[in-house]
């Protein structure tokens, strides 16, 4: 046990590490082709208690909390950041329902989500400049006692694979409403369709697609929180996502640094292993320092989330820091391995695995996305009083 982790959290991290080695490492390259959703992994992930950690009160793991969740995400990301993305986006839905859902909604969805019988997803982004603006914005109109959704959501992760979507849209009985409402929509609901998955640069195990809504009926029981009151929920979900993505980034970077260090010890140029060269040592040291400092920031923000304390500025700092330095860690790791670093397929005359090209594409996804023009700087600046 360390001073900063409970026994349960430490055990979770170790279990996730072992799980990643056994189940993810062998299939990570195949999943990176982005052709199939790894449905067969959901059961085993749930059996390890990895799917419910964002709902501490309902999770079967005592004393794990959100810190336990990021331990798991970090460890899974070492082998497959794409699979960690699936877990992450599922966990955002779990977190939101646990935090803002009604007792009935918690009872209806959380046990199934935690057991992996259902997979969750969150749908916030739209193609317009801001939510509610643009020809295909998701708008809700009243019909009887319920609501009807029309429009679309974009860049939805776990799209097509998820059973439960948290969909953010605007009720438009009055024309100038800009406040969001969160709707729980189940897959298979009439009028909901999932577009073909988009081709992403990395994180390919996790499908990303547009969702299209055509007269999708939602009852009052399907509104999470209260009407016109979900703007804060959306922004907090994005902040939680920034922290969890930070854990993914650290996992990728640590694994990459270890791979590059092993390579440097083995690769002989100028009569010695290149690990002896100061220039290489500096690159490795920077990588390890950056990922370590990022991890402290991620853990701190995760602790605030776990304690239900205000955490958005701290989450934004993680986002800002990793937006600047996150992908650099893979830029440098690949530089150390040179030609081997850029291999997408291991050449015939080489033994061993060459995961850095995949990690480079993955880390771009965990560090550079979900940042509209002035987020996260604005949130941090707003907190300086």
């Amino acid at each position: 046990m360390t001073y900063y982790l409970t026994r349960a959290q430490e055990a979770l991290g170790q279990r996730a590490h072992a799980f990643a080695d056994e189940f993810l490492e062998p299939i990570a390259a195949e999943l990176d082709r982005g052709l199939v959703f790894p449905k067969a992994l959901i059961g085993p992930l749930a059996a390890q208690d990895f799917l419910g950690l964002a709902a501490p009160a309902q999770s079967s793991v005592e004393g794990a909390g959100f810190i336990g969740h990021i331990e798991v995400i970090q460890a899974l990301s070492r082998s497959s950041a794409g699979v960690a993305s699936i877990v992450n986006n599922h966990a955002l839905a779990v977190y939101a329902i646990a935090y803002w859902g009604s007792e009935a909604q918690k009872k209806q969805y959380l046990p199934a989500l935690i057991k992996g019988e259902k997979l969750g997803a969150v749908a916030i982004a739209e193609t317009g400049p801001t939510l509610g603006i643009g020809p295909d914005a998701l708008l809700a109109t009243r019909q009887g006692s319920g609501l009807v959704l029309n429009g679309s959501k974009t860049f939805v992760r776990n799209a097509g694979a998820a059973d439960v979507y948290l969909v953010f849209g605007i009720i438009r009985p009055e024309p100038d409403n800009t406040r969001l409402t969160c709707f729980i929509v189940e897959a298979g609901t009439s009028g909901l369709s999932v577009w073909p998955r988009l081709v992403t640069m990395g994180l390919k195990a996790c499908p990303v697609a547009h969702l299209s809504f055509k007269n999708v009926a939602v009852t009052e029981a399907g509104v999470m929180g209260s009407e016109n009151n979900a703007s804060g929920i959306a922004s907090q979900i994005l902040s939680v996502s920034a922290v969890a993505s930070g854990a993914q980034t650290v996992g990728i970077a640590r694994a990459a640094a270890e791979h590059a260090a092993a390579y440097a010890k083995h690769r002989v140029q100028f009569r010695h292993p290149i690990a002896r060269l100061q220039a290489i040592q500096t690159l490795l040291a920077e990588m390890v320092s950056d990922s370590h400092l990022a991890w402290l920031g991620v853990q701190h923000a995760a602790r605030l989330i776990q304690d239900s304390a205000p955490f958005e500025p701290e989450a934004a700092m993680v986002k800002l820091f990793l937006g600047r330095f996150g992908s650099k860690m893979l830029v440098d790791a690949i530089q150390i391995e040179g030609g081997m670093g850029i291999c997408e397929v291991v050449p015939k005359h080489i033994a061993g695995s060459l995961p850095l090209a995949r990690m480079f594409r993955d880390i771009a996804g965990t560090t550079l996305l979900d940042a509209p023009d002035d987020f996260p700087d604005k949130i941090i600046a707003a907190g300086i009083a």
Partner: protein, 383 residues
């Protein structure tokens, strides 16, 4: 830029818009070699732009070549690398070859054929003198044996410049350069590598097994190999800078185009975004000038080795920064589009033609060299 250069640049821009940009994503996806491009480039004879006029080429000056290469980099650095690497290989012959060799080597380029430069080996990357390929004199021939890897154009070239040791005991000083044709018996081509970026640029491993090369194909003298390789790379490095500048400019242009489409109402974004875009342009323009300066030094026959290393390092670092920053500004739109290619291409360019670490060694050597004229001692406390 004079009017002739402006016209050449414009023609290159039009060629790129018509023949490169529409196909770049497709070839990036498949990783197949873009052979169609050689055919499309035939009428313009652009693959002969660096061939001197006396050998039937276009004889473009280094700066003019850089202008064309920037346009090609703007379209697709994978495709531009094919052109750049072909020129690189030819420079070895132009630097040290005899008249007959120059004429022979340049001939395929006149009809959109390409060349390849084969220096790197599994055991000899940054440490270029540590290779195991050998060339043993046998009558009027040399017998070549050994492996070569990461060879750009290696599986598609009509002619190659291959480096091998004629005197193993002398290490780097025992290296010699040969003109090799892939049709020669003993040239065994391996698989093409599946790379992170520059995917449609052909990169291969090949093996030489008792490959017999006429002594007339030895470039310069025995033992000249390392000098030829280094001089060739000096000439070639700023062209990588040119490709990288083209790539970075493309990224910025696409990023601005996207932001305008996404935020049509905002004529002017907030200062944070304005400054980020400005910083991208500052970097690009700085890298462009560093690279043009190198070309002008070369044209003026002044030393340009250090400036060449700077142009390559700065250009590719800028390309990496700008592509990363542009993706951050565009987010998921970039991540789910062809945009990822720009980032992937930029990464590879920091490695090939001498890693940026090797460039820094070269640059540092000059920074630390004793000054030619002693600087006047600083006067302490002077008014």
């Amino acid at each position: 830029m004079n009017s002739e250069q402006a016209a050449i640049k414009q023609a290159a821009r039009e060629f790129v818009a018509k023949n490169i940009i529409p196909h770049a994503a497709e070839y990036d996806k498949s990783g197949e070699f873009h052979r169609y491009l050689l055919e499309a480039a035939k009428p313009s004879r652009i693959f002969a732009m660096a061939v001197p006029k006396e050998y039937g080429g276009l004889g473009y000056s280094p700066l003019t070549q850089a202008l064309v290469l920037e346009e090609w980099g703007y379209g697709c650095c994978g495709m531009a690398t094919t052109l750049g690497a072909s020129i690189l290989s030819m420079e070895s012959v132009l630097i040290a070859g005899n008249d007959d060799q120059k004429r022979r080597y340049c001939k395929p380029m006149l009809n959109a054929g390409i060349g390849a430069f084969a220096l790197t080996e599994p055991a000899a990357g940054s440490d270029a003198g540590a290779g195991e390929a050998t060339a043993v004199k046998s009558g009027n021939d040399y017998i070549l044996n050994g492996p070569k890897c990461w060879i750009t154009n290696g599986g598609e070239a009509a002619v190659l410049v291959v480096f091998a040791a004629t005197d193993v005991a002398k290490g780097a000083k025992g290296l010699s350069a040969f003109i090799v044709e892939p049709t020669m018996p003993g040239f065994i081509l391996g698989d093409r590598e599946e790379k992170l970026g520059l995917r449609s640029s052909n990169t291969v491993f090949f093996l030489m097994k008792d490959l017999r090369v006429p002594a007339a194909n030895l470039i310069g003298k025995e033992g000249d190999g390392m000098r030829i390789a280094m001089e060739t790379l000096d000439v070639a490095r700023p062209t990588i800078g040119a490709l990288a500048v083209g790539l970075a400019q493309r990224c910025l242009d696409e990023c601005v185009k996207h932001l305008r489409q996404r935020y049509p109402a905002k004529t002017y974004p907030g200062e944070s975004l304005q400054f980020e875009l400005a910083d991208m342009q500052i970097q690009i323009e700085g890298a462009r000038q560093a690279q043009h300066h190198t070309m002008r030094l070369r044209e003026a026959k002044q030393p340009f080795s250090i400036e060449s290393a700077i142009a390559k390092t700065l250009g590719t670092a800028v390309a990496m920064n700008v592509t990363t920053q542009a993706m951050r500004l565009m987010g998921s739109h970039a991540y789910t589009s062809e945009f990822g290619k720009f980032m992937r291409d930029a990464k590879v360019m920091q490695i090939y033609e001498g890693t940026n670490q090797i460039q820094r060694l070269v640059i540092a050597r000059s920074v630390l060299a004793p000054p030619k004229v002693a600087a006047p001692a600083m006067k302490v406390g002077a008014k």
